[in-house]
């Protein structure tokens, strides 16, 4: 299945009145993410959080970056889908231009990007940006 666009996600989420509906939606986004092959769960691909782990694999084709991502936690997997909506199959410069903080604020999810959250999401975004930056230079 194809990911919705960031704008679609922002619009979808604005329809929900309560937090339960919002998180149900995010968890479902995570369920729709293509599964990552277990064999890719290697230490090099691991972004370790103190509470949950994130794995990220990246490849380049035609100047665009393609990601496979996974997490052992449902909500983090959903948040990865939210991030991937913005990053998947984009050019490095598009990735670097994208304002993740504002996007997460629009979704009222900014607390998940806060440095106090040990969920690996912030570190994962930083890693994607570093990769994009390296490819771009």
């Amino acid at each position: 299945m194809t990911l919705p666009t960031p704008d679609q996600i922002v619009e979808d989420i604005s329809f929900f009145d309560d937090w339960e509906e919002r998180y149900k939606y995010i968890i479902d986004l995570g369920r729709d993410l293509p599964p990552m092959d277990e064999s890719l769960h290697t230490p090099e691909r691991l972004v370790k959080g103190c509470q949950s782990n994130v794995w990220i694999d990246v490849s380049e084709a035609g100047g665009k970056l393609h990601f496979q991502v996974d997490s052992d936690a449902h909500i983090v997997r959903g948040l990865l889908a939210v991030v991937m909506a913005a990053y998947q199959d984009r050019r490095p410069e598009e990735i670097l231009d994208f304002d993740m903080e504002t996007y997460f604020q629009q979704l009222d999810l900014e607390r998940h990007l806060s440095p106090t959250r040990g969920n690996g999401l912030r570190a994962m975004v930083a890693r994607v940006q570093a990769i994009a930056s390296a490819v771009n230079s």
């Binding site: 936690a73 449902h74 909500i75």
Partner: protein, 412 residues
């Protein structure tokens, strides 16, 4: 457990009113604070003691030739006396102020690294918090001693047969927790101390989780060191205690050097001071020591049998509801448990559980609880841990399980 009897003996609502933070709300819902194994909340009298110290008599202790210094020193040393009485130390010289349990254990481990030799053994358990594991692992690395780890059983109890077998004439030091922070298992401390003493080993008890739940009489327990923190005992963070048997402590290598810990100093050498000062280099954490003294005073004034009965009712109720909860597995089912319900849900990672409970105003901890090897031993990446203190109520235990139903619905 008769709720009526508890109410007569122990008024939990009256206790709660002394903790201002407990009336807080999280996203419009009443805070249900079940992360007491991480840190406990503070009663108003402890908060007042801190404010009062800085408001009326802040000064450096043991030094100044003025009134404030006298008053500060008196309060600070009175707090030490309070601790000494509380754990039934033979003398106030046995009570060393530290920054917390971790520093207390480090003081002993750093000294041990100088005393241990190749061929010596240090015995710890599979249920250690990292503070009582990495410290000994490193002391062994530095000294050439061997770290031996006593196994636990599936239910999270120490394997006592193995413990007895692993003790031998090479065992120089034995370290174990009074209560496991991740599982709540209460260890038979007195029995373990006796066995360790029979082979002439030093014994350190990590009391971080024991001190707020179990009566502690260090002379009766028979250990050489007992380490604990103020903040898990309704006191401030950044302060803790190392209790050490005077005959052992007096011979133990000093760790930090500097002011306050010396008797005389020349440019060439220094003579260490007497206990307890020789382990307290530099200006101490005066305010928090006084705050911890106040916390212990407050705690000691409670009806302890009633407190323990109340806490037993909490853990029993939590365990009953957990056992009846479909798709939940309790991690750590020791017969003697206190304060902690660790669990995993079939649906959902502990991080999901913690987050979705937080959205409902319920504070728990998730993860490996600074006990990574223990989680590995139990075959889980981590757990969700609800931990109770004397101010928690049976209604709050009920609220946890109501909220968990919602978590399961969201994740299922």
């Amino acid at each position: 457990m008769g709720a009526v009897i508890n109410k007569q003996a122990f008024d939990v609502q009256a206790i709660r009113r002394q903790f201002p933070i407990l009336s807080r709300e999280i996203d419009g819902k009443p805070l249900v604070y079940l992360d007491n194994a991480a840190t406990t909340q503070k009663p108003q009298c402890v908060i007042d003691a801190l404010v009062d110290y800085y408001t009326t008599c802040n000064a450096n202790v043991h030094r100044g030739a003025h009134r404030l210094a006298d008053e500060a020193t008196q309060r600070y040393e009175q707090a030490r006396d309070t601790i000494a009485t509380f754990v039934n130390a033979a003398s106030r010289r046995e009570v060393i102020w530290t920054s917390g349990t971790t520093e207390s254990i480090n003081i002993v481990a750093i000294g041990a690294a100088q005393l241990l030799r190749e061929g010596d053994e240090v015995l710890v358990t599979q249920m250690e918090h990292h503070a009582n594991l990495v410290t000994w692992q490193q002391a062994c690395k530095r000294s050439g001693a061997k770290l031996v780890v006593c196994p636990i059983d599936e239910n999270g109890e120490l394997n006592l047969t193995a413990f007895g077998q692993l003790l031998n004439e090479r065992t120089r030091l034995v370290a174990f927790p009074h209560v496991s922070n991740a599982l709540g298992t209460v260890n038979p401390v007195k029995d373990l101390c006796q066995q360790a003493k029979a082979v002439n080993a030093w014994v350190l008890v990590d009391g971080a989780q024991g001190i707020a739940h179990e009566p502690v009489d260090v002379q009766d327990l028979g250990c050489d060191f007992y380490a604990f923190s103020g903040h898990k005992l309704f006191g401030p963070t950044g302060i803790g205690v190392l209790w050490g048997r005077e005959s052992v402590l007096a011979e133990w290598p000093v760790w930090q050097t500097g002011g306050e810990m010396i008797a005389t100093v020349t440019y060439e050498r220094a003579i260490w001071g007497e206990l307890p000062g020789r382990f307290e280099a530099g200006t101490p954490n005066i305010a928090d020591a006084i705050g911890m003294g106040k916390a212990v005073e407050w705690f000691s004034a409670l009806d302890m049998p009633a407190v323990m009965a109340h806490e037993r009712a909490l853990i029993e109720s939590a365990t009953e509801q957990a056992e009846a909860f479909e798709g939940l597995r309790i991690v750590g089912t020791a017969r003697n448990k206190v304060g902690v319900l660790s669990f995993v849900l079939d649906e959902g990672h502990p991080a999901d559980v913690g987050f979705l409970l937080d959205r409902q105003g319920i504070a728990i901890r998730t993860g490996h609880h600074c006990a990574e090897p223990l989680m590995g031993r139990l075959g889980v990446p981590g757990t969700a841990r609800a931990s109770f203190a004397l101010y928690n109520t049976l209604e709050e235990v009920g609220a946890l399980f109501t909220a968990l139903q919602k978590v399961r619905n969201l994740l299922g």
